[in-house]
Amino acid sequence: MSGFNKVVTTYDEALAGLQDDMTVMVGGFGLCGIPEGLIKAVYDKGTKGLTCISNNAGVDGFGLGIWLEKRQIKTMIGSYVGENELFEKLFLSGEMEVILTPQGTLAEKIRAGGAGIPAFFTATGFGTKVAEGKETRQFDGRDYVLEPALTADYSLVKAWKADTMGNLIFRKTARNFNPMMAAAGKITIAEVEEIVQPGELDPDQIHTPGIYVQRVIKGKFEKRIEQRTVRSA
């Protein structure tokens, strides 16, 4: 019996069951905290027709940018997606549908999806294109928009450390969308820098409890930096 050992050793095992036309969430903000190996593995697998939920869409040749190269994304749901030229081409030509969502609303829609909340009201986007076609309502004299939750067939997230039971700890701003996406995926795969034994992570300090994580794989990370900004010492 496997009990709660969720560690897999190959990307094939990690992505088992992923099929064309599924909805996939991918963690990260820009190139910070993205599951690099899993993204590459989906590229290698060639899965197509994906609805991809991610705050950004990578850059040319790295991160989700490589899914664009193979035309693997049918619909992209994100808040800020234009850091690469190919994206622009696919978007303007209509090859790819793009649903722009305010970043906080995106985060909350994903959080709601994992938490069993089918919809919630938010003031964000009221009176803008984002609210078009959506129900609005006043509470205490202020206007709000009803936003439905998001869930995914697969969530690909990146963590710093995992134990074998899938408990996750993130590091600095590489946390970003990863915890909510972990909770909102039917199958959540965590690609991590280090796998430790149960008991090695402080139970008070676990960011994502293992109940949300189905598979854990140790990855290798390039951690490319988009805007290397420094000051002189």
Binding site: C32, S79, A123, P179, E226
Partner: protein, 219 residues
């Protein structure tokens, strides 16, 4: 003389209060951090999950896991905290951030703001801007008063797709500080050497001019 980018940032910095939690947008707003009055403490919130953003790192301190909302490498100050994007926007949407400073293409006399989309050009997305204008307790917009062709961006009614409605209270441009209320821009201050006439000429929206309009003061 019209203010330069740094002077606009400097003027905005005078709106800070000790103990404020502040979110600074990309561009001129980022420069505001350089002019926070001495002895005053503010904590900078970066919406990708950091409260207590510090200055850029020295070369040896660059950490790919530590960036700001503009995706630049940054540092964290003593007493900082990291959190998820959901927590970050809970903070913003829930009104816990005291002040947001952000840029705009246009603002109008109803307090509407357009800052994320120019039809016909590529749309990259609104990022966190819509959440910030919907959630912050106070919002200051920094922008130029008119575009390169001299057309006002301080309007009766925004022409571009909106980022938020009835949310902007204060605008700081290279020419003036204005407060938006009761469907008009109220001129509070003018840049040193800039005439009220120039401001009036470059303002399309309804402009309320008091008897006396003091010049901005810089230390």
């Amino acid at each position: 003389m019209a203010l330069d980018r740094n002077q606009i940032a400097q003027r905005v910095a005078q709106e800070m209060k000790d103990g404020y939690y502040v979110n600074l947008g990309i561009g001129i707003p980022t420069l505001v951090a350089n002019y926070i009055p001495q002895g005053m403490q503010v904590m900078l919130q970066s919406e990708n999950g950091l409260l207590g953003m510090g200055e850029f790192p020295t070369e040896d301190k660059v950490d790919p896991d530590l960036i700001n909302a503009g995706k630049q490498t940054v540092t964290a100050v003593t007493g900082a905290a990291y959190f998820s994007s959901a927590e970050s926007f809970a903070m913003i949407r829930g009104g816990h951030v005291d002040l947001t400073v952000l840029g705009a293409f246009e603002v109008d006399q109803e307090g509407n703001i357009a800052s994320w989309m120019i039809p016909g050009k590529l749309v990259k997305g609104m990022g966190g801007a819509m959440d910030l204008v919907a959630g912050a307790q106070n919002i200051i917009v920094t922008m130029t008063h008119a575009n390169k062709r001299g057309e006002s961006k301080i309007l009766k009614k925004c022409t571009l797709p909106l980022t938020g409605v009835n949310c902007i209270k204060t605008v700081v441009t290279e020419l003036a500080v204005m407060e938006i209320r009761d469907g008009a821009f109220h001129l509070l201050e003018r840049a040193p050497g800039v005439s009220v006439e120039e401001i009036r000429d470059k303002t399309d929206g309804k402009l309320v001019i008091p008897d006396s309009v003091p010049e901005m003061q810089f230390m």
